[in-house]
Symmetry: C2
Amino acid sequence: MAQSGSGFLCFATLLLCSAFATSFSTDPPLLQQHKDRVGRLPGQNFNVSFAHYAGYITVEENAGRTLFYWFIEALEDPHSKPLVLWLNGGPGCSSIAFGQSEEIGPFHINPDGKTLHPNPYSWNRVANILFLDTPVGVGFSYSNNGSELLNNGDNRTAKDNLVFLLKWFERFPQYRSNDFLISGESYAGHYVPQLSQAIVKYNSATKEQAINLKGFMVGNALTDDYHDQLGMFEFMWSSGLISDQTYKLLNLLCDFESVEHPSHSCENIWEIADKELGNIDPYSLFTPPCHANVSQLSRLVRRKNRIGRLGLSTEYDPCTERHSIVYFNRPEVQTALHVDLDHKPATWETCSDVVYTNWKDSPRSVLDIYHELIGMGLKIWVFSGNTDVVIPVTSTRYSISALKLPTLSPWRAWYDDGEVGGWTQEYAGLTFVIVRGAGHEVPLHKPKLALTLVQTFLAGTSMPNLDLLSTS
Amino acid sequence: MAQSGSGFLCFATLLLCSAFATSFSTDPPLLQQHKDRVGRLPGQNFNVSFAHYAGYITVEENAGRTLFYWFIEALEDPHSKPLVLWLNGGPGCSSIAFGQSEEIGPFHINPDGKTLHPNPYSWNRVANILFLDTPVGVGFSYSNNGSELLNNGDNRTAKDNLVFLLKWFERFPQYRSNDFLISGESYAGHYVPQLSQAIVKYNSATKEQAINLKGFMVGNALTDDYHDQLGMFEFMWSSGLISDQTYKLLNLLCDFESVEHPSHSCENIWEIADKELGNIDPYSLFTPPCHANVSQLSRLVRRKNRIGRLGLSTEYDPCTERHSIVYFNRPEVQTALHVDLDHKPATWETCSDVVYTNWKDSPRSVLDIYHELIGMGLKIWVFSGNTDVVIPVTSTRYSISALKLPTLSPWRAWYDDGEVGGWTQEYAGLTFVIVRGAGHEVPLHKPKLALTLVQTFLAGTSMPNLDLLSTS
């Protein structure tokens, strides 16, 4: 989906006009910012010292494509801290359901589906975090033209996300000069580099740094269909999940298959692999699945499954996703988050089947974007929890290896509190970080390690090693 | 180390003479059995309903090669239950230190090194367990001729273990007719099939079923140097522990190397791999190492390390081995276990460096023995904890694949309490069982799953599946 330069320029000009039109046609931005401020949430039995905001931004007026966001300021001194946009994958999954509510956000949901508890490893300890439900049809994001939900794809998502950001910075002009970074996981392995590319092109076309993009970081990210599948087959075999024969047949029958459109024979061997795995949580190999909904979980790893939909980890509640469903369908919660009653979904879902099954365009690889953006000097980090079967560490290794980047700093273990947190290698233009014992949703399974990771990424330093820690 | 039939016959005849000589020259067997009975152990603040015995059996009179055993009767109805011999590896490691004290035995040691707690998953719930420290120089086993500790190897170990068993059954004749099975892990991947082969040959040569051997079961077992190394390199890469370059160089420089005598270039790349891994417990990838002794644990996976020496898992104490060292060096404990003051080691060790570094013969593969014994109809099970880096699941898969056995029952998940306990495949003559989330010492890391495993092995049934469980 790489766009031609001239085509993008026209698009950028249109965007500018659209942005101006908007700023005159609605409430003044700062007033809308004020209106978006969220008070105490239902079930929030603790105080918070930071401000947070939730609301909508219309990214296309004609169809009324409107994206829902939740912006959470940093715990301390937000104006000096970077701004991080977090995107979940699917396609079709809500960043509020996953990113905010069970991964990096400050408000995590108790099993009663009514009350909240603070996440001590919230990324707003080190950054302002912006959660975006994208594209339309995801979470509380909507379109006035329902048929648009049947026409989502990578291309329009990147464009809509860019418009969203331009307008969001109008509403929150005080964050224009902060360092801006994008992060996400799973299918956001497409969204994040694609949006980064769109920003770089927009900035270049308009000859101004409209968005102060400094870099991006993705985890267990869909990157390249060939490497992702090759790595998945290998990881399933080397972890002991599938038979020798199934491993051979997956490699034979699914070789170079598109994730979107696998052949019949590839689908058939996937069915066999699926049965061999048994009732595990493929997003986290060593933790129990949520038994509250056996039918959903017995689906396991299937090509037709959403990538990054579940993600559930014995210090941890495997049913987190279900608590979100209860909480965000409560009318009082929707009111508190300024959800528009005229546009709210009949039932709020963590992931939209409509969006997923009607996805239009998905390039087989985004490695070309990595090449382009590495050349631009963006800070690019790629991390991987090494107990994820869906987009395993092997997949990511194959993709990074294909980039053929020179090594700056050799492979080594990194440490947190004196324990190996994982492994890391710094390449020219890209830093790779493995998080030991984390599944598909790294901040869910290893919240403390994930906070160390984002802190280090934002600081632009190297992952901590044992010597530095013991002398610090 | 396959022995010729005629050579073995002479050996067997000598054994018989030796056995007769012994039975007339010492205490009557039943008297010695009575003398070996162990009372309440120091620090045992709980009652047990079963009997247990500890003592010595001299396997070669001239040099005074004498092996120490600890025999623990089944919790209930021991005479109707099978007898399982358990062997640890190294070479040089004590079955009492590992098998009894932190894996399958009923007496586990508290961190104070003084008191014991009962192991609720002790294998004496389903079998009588015989722990043997073998060969001489291991644990409390000794030789009157110290130079013999410099001449241990697979060959003599198998012979001495056979003599031990013949004499042990003289002392415990009430167990002669019980089903006899052998189990063990790590380097016992050599000992167990080698001893099984020796028993089969002895029974055949003497034309009597002197030892009622029914089968064996090994876990994370050294089996075939080529496959074991190939699998280890692959597992280290696919788990994200080593760099791409180191992975390539290990395969290049250590290809077909002997584990005992690696080349200089292979050793060098091992040193690099070792550093890349960092301070993890290679015997259990996702659990913290014991920080009580950093120098020992920073050694990590090295070719010169003992195989199966450590083995330490967060519901679990990583310093178990250290508690054994304290406990078994206590004079009152040694007295309770009938340790001979004239022959006790200056310091009791969990693993002997002298034995390990002076090991003489170690065949590169025992797959030929598998072929031979499968043909004999022995029940053979092979299991693997899939978080062990030292002899990982990939190694065992390569070795089993090399046996080219027909499949009887296809690959599937097995279940314990409704959760996936691992995966299994039944071949003609061999059953393979993976234990999910277990390290090198499966019964240490996953005690409940290990008890299910041995119970199923002894029953001769298939590993439980979900349907069977939910209807039972």
